[in-house]
Symmetry: C5
Subunit: 300 residues, 5 copies
Amino acid sequence: MVREDFWVEVFKIQGSVTPRVAGRLFGFSLFGAAVYLFFEVLQFHNGLATAHYEYIGVVLALLLVLRTNAGYDRWYEARKIWGGIVNQSRNLAQIGLIYGPRDRTWRENYARWVAAFSPVCCHSLRNEQNFEEISELSEVIGTGETRRLSEANHMPMYVVRRIATMLRDAVAAGEMDRFFFLQAEAERARLIDHIGGCERILRTPLAQAFSIKIRRFLFLYLLFLPIAIVDAAGVATPLVVFLVAYPLLALDQIGVELENPFSQARLNHLPLDQISATIRSNVLASIDEIPAMIPYADSP
Amino acid sequence: MVREDFWVEVFKIQGSVTPRVAGRLFGFSLFGAAVYLFFEVLQFHNGLATAHYEYIGVVLALLLVLRTNAGYDRWYEARKIWGGIVNQSRNLAQIGLIYGPRDRTWRENYARWVAAFSPVCCHSLRNEQNFEEISELSEVIGTGETRRLSEANHMPMYVVRRIATMLRDAVAAGEMDRFFFLQAEAERARLIDHIGGCERILRTPLAQAFSIKIRRFLFLYLLFLPIAIVDAAGVATPLVVFLVAYPLLALDQIGVELENPFSQARLNHLPLDQISATIRSNVLASIDEIPAMIPYADSP
Amino acid sequence: MVREDFWVEVFKIQGSVTPRVAGRLFGFSLFGAAVYLFFEVLQFHNGLATAHYEYIGVVLALLLVLRTNAGYDRWYEARKIWGGIVNQSRNLAQIGLIYGPRDRTWRENYARWVAAFSPVCCHSLRNEQNFEEISELSEVIGTGETRRLSEANHMPMYVVRRIATMLRDAVAAGEMDRFFFLQAEAERARLIDHIGGCERILRTPLAQAFSIKIRRFLFLYLLFLPIAIVDAAGVATPLVVFLVAYPLLALDQIGVELENPFSQARLNHLPLDQISATIRSNVLASIDEIPAMIPYADSP
Amino acid sequence: MVREDFWVEVFKIQGSVTPRVAGRLFGFSLFGAAVYLFFEVLQFHNGLATAHYEYIGVVLALLLVLRTNAGYDRWYEARKIWGGIVNQSRNLAQIGLIYGPRDRTWRENYARWVAAFSPVCCHSLRNEQNFEEISELSEVIGTGETRRLSEANHMPMYVVRRIATMLRDAVAAGEMDRFFFLQAEAERARLIDHIGGCERILRTPLAQAFSIKIRRFLFLYLLFLPIAIVDAAGVATPLVVFLVAYPLLALDQIGVELENPFSQARLNHLPLDQISATIRSNVLASIDEIPAMIPYADSP
Amino acid sequence: MVREDFWVEVFKIQGSVTPRVAGRLFGFSLFGAAVYLFFEVLQFHNGLATAHYEYIGVVLALLLVLRTNAGYDRWYEARKIWGGIVNQSRNLAQIGLIYGPRDRTWRENYARWVAAFSPVCCHSLRNEQNFEEISELSEVIGTGETRRLSEANHMPMYVVRRIATMLRDAVAAGEMDRFFFLQAEAERARLIDHIGGCERILRTPLAQAFSIKIRRFLFLYLLFLPIAIVDAAGVATPLVVFLVAYPLLALDQIGVELENPFSQARLNHLPLDQISATIRSNVLASIDEIPAMIPYADSP
């Protein structure tokens, strides 16, 4: 993974934003060539080639870096929240199955609802709420509940409510100690915080004035760039424009790609399906592993 | 959303700070032209065109970026706090409706007060406290309570108190388990933290010495800029001044716009009305959805 | 608040650090003039005018920005802690008055001690502990207690102890539910964390080696600056020195101003008096507003 | 540790990334020499030597620094999580041994399972799950349990479950107060959070589009670098290329090395074995130290 | 503290890292002089004087700033943790003395053990565990206990265990309410987190590959610096080398100094002795101040 990686990543196309900025990049380079020809023919000289033009570029680069960084922070925050969904789902399953009622039906139902939380969040964040779109949940919670779920005002809340209702019933029936319940409840409340966090990231892009401004500066900068360098760069003008425009346009595009970490249309979307599958496997495995540790009356 | 966005954002006017800095920008450019004419006529040369002048520009740019970043952090913190208001409102509603008394009147009243919290915060942060300004709350909590609310020393605290009183009564009447109450209370306390956090952001602008200083540097820098570049830039002086001044003035203005994320006069104010409407819809929908899960005596 | 602000802030004197650095600034500019005259008379040329000198300036600027940023973070952290004092005071008052004993004397005493916490912190952070300095507290907690307070080993701890003692008595007398007490106690413990946080900021300035080093670099840099630029800048040497030294010296001074956010001798000290007054008004208003909601036996 | 360190670190080979980038570095330098010979022979001049090329380098350096920083943050976060595993293991051992049942068998078993958690995490993060790979655990929890552990769906969860089961039994048997249990349970839940945090870091490398892009820019930059400098640098071209490429390639490699802080193939992997050994020693020592404080019935 | 400070700090020796880098600084300057003489004699010119050399310097400066910042963050984190030790010690003392048993012996013993925690941490972090090294603790906890403490596997844990045992006994004897105990226990657990945090900082220096790399770049950079500037700087070469090397070497050294905030051999070590003394005074004063508030049976 040491040397090979370097050359592999240098030439990798898949997962790269290059195709998404190729058009713009080509356009600005072409414009650079046109500027060169124009100045060559007219033998015209201009005063733009001052160091101050480069200074504007530094400001622009700082801004792009700032924005990419803000985008990366959002992406990482989303990843952390999903890490929290993994943790809380596991913890909730453990608490319910170890400290909860010994009745097998309750245990299985409970584990299934906990396992359903992360795929439901995933659907909800991708705006899929029709029964067809979420029908693979039928395996976990049954067709009837899946249909009812698809009609809920807020799907993840519906699942959390199911879990809360089961806990309440267990406590009311005297089969779960109140102190054990306290632990489960704290974890359950954090699940609501997590889904709220995802929705916040989904619905709040970067401050718009910020994003517009950067793109406008970028445009103005690249527009005047060939004029500023044509005297010094001569025939190399389009190449220099290309070399300057490539990282700037790509950085800008990476900022956009990182903005919505949930959408599958984005290059760096988080592997939500895979995370959900891991949770499901972990949680459902607990149904059988835990009774093997504790002598339950109804164990097979 | 890939290529189109780029060109759309480049030319977008709405949501841009350009109109707000246009005057200053025009002024400095004009001054640049005047400097050029003056030096042209007098055939005067000066020693300002040293690289050190550009260096001052770098310091200035670092400062502006720092300030914009600090502004963005405040804006994002405000967004996070409102995300917390969403989470805690939902959680509080869940806990009250699932673990609380089964009496329909209590449940409905409780949900209404929880739903009222976020619009009340919104009014409070915008300094609207007259009955007329908050009268649309009558739909949620009734006209009488809305009027009483408008006379409270601190409106969001009044709402939180109402919620606390209802919880206390439920516990006193033996209809809510103390362990369940503990959960509700923890969420309620966090609501007070959230409104306190919003007020802190609202009332503490950036350290003033910091903000004044940056604007003064910016002014001095742009004042001497044409003199520093006129020898090299010649007739392009106003254009260079424009290209340099535009990002700097815009960055400065964006910093100002991000400072108060609650005021509707700001370009990037948070969509508090919309967030409040979402909470209200979620919470009020719970009144009917939850009894459908739990067999309540008084369910319709 | 859009355009006017810009020009107002540019020329504002009050709240600016300019007067505090004027002497140094003038000194370095004068030295720049002297260097110019000296080199002019001697027709001497030197090799310092290399780009590397500017590079040192960039390192210096990065350091100053880093330090200002660290100072700003401390300032903001202090502000957040005081935001926490607001939140916890409010919360503590709510919990005591809603969930605590119904006895009016207890309620009033309790609210007064909670209201006393923030002004006591404020006095403590400003090192005022004589009875004369804190005598305005007599209105809140009475002259006798104010005098006893002034003799305590640690004033804010004394207040927190009073609050704890009242809660303990309420629980012991059976007038406050243990579950309700748990909530109050958690908030009370956070008050101790807050005052500890303030003391930490107050007593730990920036790492000293860091601060000394920056000032020494700044001095050396400004000392050699005129020698480095005199060849290129000629008669403009003092002006360039002024333009370069102004932001650097001001940034350095701002770093110092931000270091102690509690001292009234600092330009950007936090408005602790005003925050304390808000808390006091909020908390004392609760004494009358809450019984209006809950039918207390002793309500007027 | 003052002066010696400096020269020692300058020439240290072990723990350095230099050997890992030597090939690439040599290649680019050689290419620089080839470019020099080519241009020397052809007496060709080009327009690339503009300041704008250096500006691209600044953007690239900012990106590399950003990435290294992001990598360092991940590394430090991983270290913090393992610090948490130390804290929670110690705390859990204390609580169980001081507040738990007085039965020596229970105490010893309990301490052994707590001591087993960190080595199990370590194996799990390094993807070692065969009995042979984890057999050194037999000393702590016995051969039978080690084998069963190696068959679990998720090894760290298995250990946490064992601990939870023991706590539950102690409470059920009336040998552990429910309030004491609450403390133990909170610490146990945090252990699940910690292992989840490690897995998140392990499975989420830096956003890929980000990493590919930087390597591509780096390649393009170093490719055109000799062409841009050959006119000015002449025969020193390969040396300049070497001096520029070394920090850039090394920074890039350091970013890669920091990405996975758990793999022993990485230069800066965390000393997980050593940390685990410390925990084990601390926890197992408690078995004998605590009864010496508390008069247990079964103490030796 | 306004103007004087500036000049005082500029010339301060104590607390400065200058003496620690003086040797290296002198060496590099001397080497610069040698290079100048060599090139002067040989009338040799070289191609290193390109702007790209300065660019390497920028990358190096960014790295040094990054490292200093990381070091400062560690230092500040250590300071925050000790702030936490102050808070939790105070809080623990309060809770035990106000809510705990009324027996004077218990109260005094308890306060003494709490007061012993911070000096014990301090000794432990400085690797002092012999009885002679910690004998000043005898005043607080007696000679016998001090000796036993010096034989413990982990001294701070021993103290925490003592505290836990006393709390457990108080609860078992029915003299401390379980709800009150919950509060004490939460604070006690945080003490273990704090000492774990300090040990983490102590035992994890910056990622080594990172630190070696920076020093190697620094060395290479300063080695080639005089060759790169000798053409332009001439006789001023050693001065320029000095001015460039001073901030870079000092920054590097500051990074090292900040790495271990606990060792007294470091310039910026935290004043742990002083902090411990404050805690001790605060806690021991509570023994007498609290009974003055609460009518204890055994009060003097």
